[in-house]
């Protein structure tokens, strides 16, 4: 594993994002727009509200906060391989001495940085807003330590999982649009898990949050290896699978 090669990929990808601000701009704007109504709702919850009212209002916000890292990265990740193939830049890269695992890790990190930055940024704004303007009863639920920990730990790990799913689809897809649609669909099952946490069906506690985070980290690590093994240079260039194990190449 060459850190220099991974860093080169990350730097290139980030530069491309910076030159094409629509990628990040549109990525950030959607969650902000969807956040408006739940935020207004949460600010209207009075101090005298019942526990179930508070739980429902906060649940919607928490769900949205956990959805953001799941639905944002597939847009970038699903483009990463099939997009390069479409624009004719993939073959020159594959002639360079970079392993599939290094290339994909670089692309994953590059998708991870803006996705998690946007997700954390929005969460931070919500936290501060709730602290400053919402009723105490709401603030105490949102600022509940296990809830905060779960959010902080799950955001990057869920994002990574969505990224690996997106990249895996990008490796196998033949069209950018199909890849993006499939990647978004493939990230939906994660919403089940996030809903359970958001609406406190699974009540977050510190040990549970850490345990789930460790489990997600292991899944992410396995996903990296699986997706790297899916990477088949010959298939990407010619449409036919290679008879040799391409992950080693």
């Amino acid at each position: 594993m060459s850190v220099q090669r991974v860093r080169a990929v990350v730097r290139k990808e980030v530069r491309e994002f910076r030159r094409n601000r629509f990628v990040i701009g549109t990525m950030a704007s959607l969650p902000v727009i969807f956040l408006v109504t739940p935020m207004i709702t949460i600010f209207r919850v009075p101090d005298s509200a019942s526990g179930s009212q508070v739980k429902a209002a906060v649940g919607v916000i928490s769900l949205l906060m956990l959805i953001v890292p799941v639905v944002l990265p597939p847009v970038i990740a699903s483009y990463s391989v099939v997009g390069e193939r479409d624009q004719g830049t993939l073959e020159p890269v594959l002639t360079a001495p970079i392993r599939a695992s290094e290339l994909l890790l670089g692309k994953a990190v590059a998708a991870f940085i803006p996705s998690v930055s946007v997700a954390y940024g929005i969460y931070f704004i919500v936290l501060i807003s709730v602290r400053l303007g919402a009723a105490h009863v709401v603030s105490s639920v949102v600022w509940h330590a296990p809830q905060l920990l779960a959010q902080l730990l799950f955001t990057p790990l869920l994002a990574l999982w969505a990224i690996w799913v997106g990249i895996g689809i990008s490796i196998r897809a033949s069209d950018v649009r199909v890849a993006q649609q499939l990647a978004t669909l493939a990230s939906l099952p994660l919403l089940g898990f996030t809903s359970l946490v958001s609406f406190q069906v699974i009540t977050p506690s510190v040990p549970l949050a850490i345990g789930c985070a460790l489990g997600l980290a292991a899944v992410d690590l396995i996903a990296w290896r699986v997706v790297s093994n899916l990477f088949d240079r010959e298939r990407l260039i010619t449409g036919h699978s290679a008879p040799w194990d391409d992950a080693a190449v």
Partner: protein, 422 residues
């Protein structure tokens, strides 16, 4: 030229500043809206989220319509810049110096003249279709080797196999001293460089950033090599230009700079002059000549036969299987008999008698006063023929050796294949 951006990133500090009337209008609207919300929604719980929404929307607009802080030339700006001057006779001194600095590290692979590429019985099938069949050849270090063939002949497939992009169905090869093996793909690719027919540049990145990316992929730490590679292709003045704004010829040069970065033992060039105008093609030819002088091994895939004839030490003609291989003059000798072409002022009265007396194997008329003579040795036969013509009082206008081009060789072989298949 006026900037099309509404905002520009601050050189110092964070954030954006408006740089156009649209930017100022959006800023004014945002400030007015924020002030209105503060006043109108006083005491309302919705005031803070609405303010946040206004700020967020303003940030999104700034992000989408903003430009970089540096006054980087835009693609349209770079279009209007003149092409760098090309030297009329070979590479400029600066280019030669840059090539000298870039190349040489890997010349010791196999030693000069030793095979740097050995291909044995290489075959590639895609399902039932045979793309390349039983191809064998060697390329010596420092050689410029031409790989010719019609469309679909398997040239690019062969290059892809040697570059470890696709796996051979059978056969073996040694590339830059490393056996072609899936476990040694990185090692092989570290020692070679491939310029694909489409240079595959990132159009939103600058020329220098494209090269920087590949320098990173090759693990190069010496940043000077990027400047040297750009000097070698005469593009130093365009380093900060976005690749999207470059002409096809300039993009091709960036592709060439990219393959020079890592000082590879073998450079594979796949149709490097495809779609280029004559001036741009000449620049590429001069660069390949420069590489030959520096002892760099070049594997040149091309359709352009005059290009192969001019540049290549040896050529191979492929049509799924290897049809022939050798120096261009060898191939001519192998395929075509030697001829002398004679032109006289008036037709000879008895050409059969004249040419029979001067060691000519056979002859045929070529126009009213022209003759094509088949000879065993053109150098020995020419003076004999001249003497015989003078002896019979013929007015000799010209006597020359018949020349077959590489194109004749190529067409002859491909026609034979077509005849066989029919």
């Amino acid at each position: 030229m006026r900037s099309s951006h509404w905002f520009r990133r601050r050189r110092v500090g964070l954030g954006w500043r408006p740089v156009s009337w649209q930017g100022w209008a959006v800023t004014g609207l945002a400030v007015a809206s924020a002030a209105a919300v503060v006043v109108v929604l006083r005491g309302s719980a919705a005031r803070l989220p609405v303010l946040i929404l206004i700020v967020a929307l303003y940030a999104v607009v700034a992000l989408l319509t903003g430009g970089a802080s540096a006054d980087r030339p835009s693609s349209s700006d770079s279009e209007s810049l003149p092409e760098p001057p090309s030297s009329s006779a070979g590479l400029s001194d600066g280019q030669q110096e840059a090539l000298q600095a870039l190349t040489g590290r890997n010349r010791q692979v196999g030693g000069s003249g030793a095979p740097v590429l050995v291909v044995e019985h290489l075959t590639k099938r895609f399902g039932d279709r045979i793309a390349v069949e039983d191809v064998s050849f060697t390329v010596a270090a420092g050689e410029v080797f031409g790989f010719l063939g019609p469309n679909g002949a398997g040239k690019t497939t062969t290059v892809r196999m040697l570059a470890t992009l696709i796996s051979p169905t059978s056969g073996s090869a040694t590339v830059a001293g490393v056996p072609l093996d899936p476990q040694r793909g990185v090692e092989i690719r570290q020692r070679i460089a491939v310029m694909t027919e489409n240079p595959g540049l990132y159009l939103r990145l600058t020329v220098a950033e494209n090269l920087e990316y590949f320098a990173g992929l090759y693990g190069l730490t010496d940043a000077r090599r990027i400047g040297q590679a750009l000097d070698a292709v005469n593009l130093a003045g365009r380093a900060a230009d976005l690749c999207g704004g470059l002409s096809k010829g300039l993009r091709q040069r960036v592709g060439l700079a990219r393959v020079l970065l890592s000082d590879p033992a073998i450079i594979f060039l796949d149709e490097p002059t495809s779609g280029l105008d004559p001036v741009a093609s000449r620049d590429v030819h001069e660069l390949i000549d420069g590489l030959r002088e520096r002892g760099v091994t070049v594997f040149l895939t091309t359709h352009r036969l005059e290009e192969a004839e001019r540049l290549c030490d040896r050529v191979a003609i492929l049509n799924t299987s290897m049809r022939t291989i050798g120096r261009p003059d060898e191939l001519r000798d192998r395929l075509f008999t030697k001829t002398l072409v004679v032109r006289t002022a008036t037709a000879l009265a008895d050409p059969a008698r004249v040419f029979a007396a001067s060691g000519v194997e056979s002859w045929q008329a070529d126009g009213p006063a022209g003759y094509v003579l088949t000879v065993g040795d053109a150098r020995a036969a020419a003076p004999e023929v001249a003497r015989a013509l003078v002896h019979v009082g013929a007015d000799l206008l010209s006597l020359s050796e018949g020349r077959h081009s590489l194109e004749d060789v190529y067409l002859e072989l491909i026609d034979r294949d077509a005849g066989t298949n029919a």
